[in-house]
């Protein structure tokens, strides 16, 4: 019998059945969450189907409010109240509107470990691949079942191995790297697959960079992505999770079998943007005509860590963004916000002309921190630029550095001009 891939090992640890790709198996869940979107639907489904019953384990079920925080309309307020009341009744903890993006909050609170299986009403749950666990976004029916029974069915995904190679001379960021990889693989190569990335160029990424890179597996159509730990990864996870000890890394066996092995040479990588309307429309900035910008956004589950904010600060400190251009900065979590406060970077950012919002998903939740008007251009560190996602204009996805330079110069750029 051949060895197992990372996902096959995680499934094996959570199932009584034999695990092989393509097989549908029942797996046990370590953590089940719902957000303020999806959450009220879960409560409704639960009450309609399991009236008076308890959740499978109140210490493993959470609400994480991160989309419209605080609620901007009465409907959202009512929906959050419905979740809070349900939580009180069932003894579930709520990470409320003050906390920030759910996946990041789960990591920061030490609720996700190497090898965990976590599901929630968030399609970027697979970010948890960065801490070597399997996160999966699901709809409210699935999550309702998870709330009640702590298990779910899953078709074991096949695994694709992607070797990232090359000898790039350009000083690129993790966001450039993921846009580059996404622009090569597009949405079909990894559709429905678990992905393991190998090679020194990827292994050297630090934890926030891993979060950036692996958050966009969703945009590649993949289920989840994993990167082998380097010598610092375990310590970085411990520090972010506030734990003394974390579970050991789950590694693929040497003789694991892969659906496909893909070698990618990224030697010609430069600063990248995803041009609208698709995240996989990767373009080098040097190949782009002059694109004037109206709005910059820094934040999201992809680029909302303190390291991202520091990059923006280093560029904007002591400067003013272009007259007429707006910049919104949304820390991923309240912890990031506090770090920014302690490091004293907020005043410099405000002086440069930034709007700094409370933590959360900010840009994604339909106008919570502003949208573009028809034809306006946004440069964003988010992960999606589909039409209508963040307004009526055009949305270019890119790194925090490029957002900072672009709002400084008034057009998409990767240096001060």
């Amino acid at each position: 019998m051949s060895g197992k891939t990372v996902i096959e090992k995680i499934f094996t640890n959570h199932s009584e059945e034999d695990i092989s790709p393509g097989k549908i198996v029942w797996i046990d869940l370590d953590v089940v969450t719902a957000r303020d979107f999806g959450g009220p639907n879960v409560v409704k489904n639960f009450n309609n189907n399991y009236e008076g019953q308890s959740v499978f384990d109140p210490s493993k079920v959470f609400f994480t409010f991160d989309l419209t925080v605080p609620p901007k309309t009465i409907q959202y307020a009512n929906n959050q109240m419905i979740c809070r009341n349900f939580a009180k009744e069932k003894g579930i903890k709520v990470f409320d509107i003050d906390k920030g993006i759910g996946t990041h909050t789960l990591i920061e609170n030490g609720l996700v470990q190497s090898g965990s299986i976590v599901v929630g009403t968030d399609s970027h749950m697979n970010i948890l691949g960065a801490v070597n666990s399997f996160g999966q976004g699901m709809g409210d029916v699935d999550i309702t079942f998870g709330f009640r029974y702590g298990r779910t069915w899953f078709e074991v995904p096949a695994t694709v191995k992607v070797n990232i190679k090359g000898d790039p001379s350009y000083d690129y960021s993790a966001k450039d790297l993921v846009i580059k990889v996404l622009s090569i693989l597009k949405t079909d190569k990894l559709l429905g697959k678990s992905v393991e990335f190998y090679g020194e160029l990827i292994k050297k990424l630090n934890l926030p960079e891993r979060i950036t890179f692996l958050s966009m597996i969703t945009e590649m159509g993949g289920i989840v992505g994993f990167i082998p730990f380097n010598e610092n990864t375990s310590n970085e996870i411990k520090e972010m999770a506030g734990l003394d000890k974390v579970a050991p890394e789950i590694k693929a066996d040497e003789d694991a079998s892969y659906f496909e092995i893909i070698d990618l040479d990224i030697s010609d990588i430069e600063s990248m943007v995803s041009a609208p309307p698709y995240p996989h429309n990767g373009v080098k900035i040097s190949d782009l005509d002059k694109v004037y910008v109206d709005f910059g956004f820094v934040g999201s589950c992809t680029n909302g860590r303190i390291e991202d904010l520091l990059k923006v600060w280093a560029i904007l400190k002591g400067k003013k963004i272009k007259e007429g251009v707006q910049l919104a900065i949304v820390p991923a979590t309240v912890e990031v916000y506090k770090q920014a406060f302690e490091k004293g970077i907020l005043k410099d950012l405000l002086d440069a002309g930034a709007i700094i919002s409370n933590p959360g998903c900010g840009g994604c939740a339909q106008g919570h921190i502003g949208m573009t008007g028809k034809g306006e251009v946004m440069v964003s560190t988010g992960n999606r630029n589909f039409p209508g996602k963040q307004g009526d204009g055009f949305n270019y996805l890119t790194s925090p550095e490029v957002v900072a330079y672009s709002v400084l110069n008034g057009f998409i750029s990767d240096r001060e001009l």
């Binding site: 409907q75 976004g137 029916v141 699935d142 589909f386």
Partner: protein, 174 residues
């Protein structure tokens, strides 16, 4: 078993070139501006509300219709509304080249039939399927019959879990 068969008229969700549209994401199917809605009956009117050329779909479709789309249908977010909105309109099934992984689960779990047809554009380009053709699909036999043209095609069968859940109505009632 009749519950595993549908008969209805086709909507080919195509672009200006007549190709079935690929990568229709959940924001195009059911925009995030309406995610506060939890009542299924209120979801129908927003179906394809953000998909260029198809915003009038809720007015022109009829209960019993069957929707055809390209690859990676329902990519993007985990919102169940992107499945429920079709149910609200009385759409009987969706047939696409492939689906976003979460979308596929959501549909299966709520007992809504979605089917996979590889190289689906050939149906339109080579087999000449047209909008409003009447078709019949047998989920268990894996057969798609175009009643209007008399042509019969093979289609991917339902998986066991898909059949089991649909038999019971939804994941929540198994």
């Amino acid at each position: 078993m009749d519950e595993f068969k549908v008969k209805g008229k086709v909507w080919l969700i195509t672009d200006n070139n007549g190709d079935l549209i690929n990568d229709i994401d959940t924001d195009q199917i059911f925009h995030n501006a309406f995610l506060h809605i939890t009542e299924i009956s209120e979801m129908g009117e927003h179906t394809f509300g953000n998909l260029e050329g198809w915003k009038d779909f809720p007015e022109k479709c009829n209960p019993g219709d069957i929707v055809f789309a390209g690859s990676n249908f329902g990519s993007g977010s985990s919102r169940q509304q992107a499945v429920d909105c079709f149910e609200a309109l009385g759409i009987k099934a969706i047939v696409a080249d492939s689906y976003g992984a979460i979308y596929k689960r959501n549909a299966i779990n709520s007992g809504f039939p979605i089917l996979t047809f590889n190289q689906i554009n050939n149906l339109v380009k080579e087999a000449g399927m047209k909008n409003r053709d009447e078709i019949e699909i047998d989920f268990l036999a894996g057969e798609l019959k175009n009643i209007s043209s008399g042509k019969i095609f093979k289609i991917d069968l339902f998986s066991k879990v898909q059949k089991d859940i649909m038999e019971k109505g939804s994941l929540l009632t198994i």
